[in-house]
Amino acid sequence: MITLSSVRGWNDRGRRLSALVGLALLGVVAACGTSSTPTAKPSAAADASSCTSTTVLSATCDITTPSAVTLTGAGANSIEPFFETVFYEYSQKDPKTTVTYSPAGSSVGVTDIQQATVDFGDSEIPMTSAQLAAATGGTILQIPVDLGGVAISYNAAGVPANLKLNGPTLAGIFDGTITNWDSPQIATVSGVSDLPNLPIKPVHRADASGPGYDLDQYLIDTSPAWVSAIATSTSSRTWPLATVGVGEQLNTGVATYISQTSGSIGFVEYGYALQNGFVNAALLNAAGSYVAPTEQSIALAGAQATSVSATDFNVVNEPGSGTYPIANFSWTLVYQKQADTTTGIALGKLLDWVVTSGQQDAEALGYAPLPANVASLAQTTIRELESSAGTPLFTS
């Protein structure tokens, strides 16, 4: 049993049994007017009459691929809980498609897609024009596939949950000027007077990360002291003040440190904070309210993004009273020209499913469903996939 989505479909007797039951049920539904060829794929039996062409993408169309395809992906660690669940569900619906994903980090995703060693990459930050220019296989399409938030989690006995913190205080913690939980600055901002006398142990990402980039952006936006401490006002994927506190790898490393160290505070993708049952801070947003990270507050951050694109992707510190200030979209990277048509079609079907039906899984895992405008941007971009000759792969 593992957490990563390399799924091979039907291999367990128990699952075959439940599939037969499902087939029986769907057979009943299918009997109400659609063609009911008894196959082992319930979805095919239900949808075959709606669109017979493999080149049409739609929620009601047949998503199964004609031949077995393996899609390899690599990229962000932060989207991994979402990807592994949706990829597994997709494989249940289309057993011929096998999807593997390596959550080694956004940078790995970018490098791998640049070198065309994977079919798709995923990055928490869209590629810059310099990175796009370095791609070896032509134009890259960037498709937003989920909306997540960055939680500031801490492990300090005696500190209440959803502690109110603002940018300057957080900056003080991460640049080493605030060293103890009972510091007056924290007491003032949070309004809590009996904080424990416990040294603060900040933990950041040792590797480059989307959450690090987002928190850096938030601190740059809200704290002039942070800007002077890091001597720049451009946020960076690599944590700029690595000499303060401790650095760990990936969300999982940071989460392990927080869960085992008393007095620690760090940033992780909200999905991981949820998994670990962490206590999170309520951050001051642009409207002046202190908001804790929840699926709803993150969704509100995304809803503010009326004109999201790969060049205008920042949803940090968005307005709105219930908005969580540190949120971001995750971007899947694919080549527009697909060398192999079968792979391209499978890829398009997978991504289209992820940004439509797949979004139902988001909330339970700690992500927010894509807002309508972003979902339609995603769907439009997917339909730009072409064959190697330049003809579009999908007719609608």
């Binding site: 940078s107 590797d207 994927r237 401790v246 650095g247 790898q249 490393g253 085992q260 160290t261």
Partner: protein, 336 residues
């Protein structure tokens, strides 16, 4: 080994070398001989090709970084890729420090264990104990790293490091806030990883000393321990040296396990309990992110620095070995 130089002796010279030479020359023309010699060259050639390709690959990729930062890259003090600063100095210090502390732990314990197993322990104990230690060699380094991350880190943060800091004199070495991940923890993890190699190779070296040496010392009136210390260990010196060199090489090159437990702070550690960073851990953390061009090149340049360090250690070790051989082993001192 019969050096080929011996074959250049004039044919009239009598003796063993001449007979061997004639035997070899008689065989040189035969077909099987040529095939075998060719195969040998293939093996050596493949290995040589791999060495050359590796060196070229590292040198080539790191060239850009060295051109950009100059030779000062090797000792420049700041490693801050976010700000575009690439300097290996701090990482070199971190690498040397963790390796040194790891060796301080491993060499006495390893040598002591080897001596115990090979010379001093009763037979019924030696065999199972050495099998047990050999078992540790079979444990993957990632498992040791994971164990260090999950089990040792909280113990170090909550118990070991505060205790060490409170010691009267030595406590100065361990002062400062106890985060858990630290130079000390990384050194301990490295020690656990390199211990089996040290014990196994030292044991082989000690066992390889002729029994006559031991017996001679005992006959001269040495106690058992004196025989070991004055006769056996010096005679096994080259093997022990090889063991230490291999252990150092492994410790310096370990990357993922170190990155998990060292805290990844690119600064000179204020004390042994402070987080630090090594060349290996920096490579793990940076490689994927490195911006194509100067970023990637700097990371590979770190690899080049690591390689140079390894060469220096190896060369130093061999020089020590040559000097050590000049000192005669004396068992007469056993009488004092």
């Amino acid at each position: 080994m019969i050096p080929d130089a011996a074959l250049r002796l004039p044919p009239r010279a009598g003796g063993q070398a001449s007979r061997v030479r004639r035997a070899v020359l008689r065989n040189r023309g035969r077909a099987g001989e040529r095939a075998y010699t060719a195969l040998r060259w293939v093996g050596a050639g493949l290995f040589g090709a791999v060495v050359v390709a590796l060196l070229l690959s590292i040198a080539g990729d790191s060239g850009q970084a060295l051109l950009h930062s100059g030779i000062g890259f090797l000792w420049s003090g700041t490693w801050n890729p976010a700000a575009g600063q690439y300097g290996a100095g701090i990482l070199v210090v971190g690498t040397l420090l963790t390796t040194a502390v790891a060796m301080v732990i491993v060499v006495p314990i390893g040598l002591g264990t080897a001596a115990f197993l090979s010379e001093l322990a009763p037979r019924w104990l030696a065999a199972p104990l050495s099998t047990l230690i050999g078992l540790l060699a079979a444990v993957a380094s990632i498992v040791v790293g994971l164990w260090g991350l999950i089990v040792l880190t909280p113990i170090f943060a909550n118990q070991v490091e505060p205790f060490l800091a409170s010691m009267p004199v030595l406590g100065w070495l361990f002062r400062g806030e106890a985060y858990g991940p630290s130079v000390l923890l990384a050194s301990v993890v490295l020690a656990v990883m390199t211990l089996p190699t040290m014990v196994a190779l030292s044991r082989t070296a000690l066992a390889g000393v002729p029994v006559a040496d031991r017996e001679a010392a005992l006959a001269l009136g040495a106690t058992r321990w004196q025989a070991v210390r004055r006769a056996v260990i010096p005679a096994a010196r080259s093997g022990i040296q090889a063991a230490v060199t291999l252990a150092i090489g492994r410790a310096m090159g370990e990357s993922i396990a170190v990155a998990m437990v060292i805290g990844n702070r690119p600064a000179i550690p204020a004390s042994l309990t402070a987080p630090g960073a090594t060349l290996g851990s920096a490579i793990v953390n940076q490689f994927a992110e490195a911006t194509p061009g100067i970023g990637t090149s700097s990371v590979i340049a770190l690899g080049a620095v690591l390689l140079l360090l390894t060469v220096a250690v190896n060369a130093g070790g061999q020089a020590l070995l040559r000097r050590g051989r000049a000192i005669p082993v004396s068992t007469a001192g056993a009488l004092r």
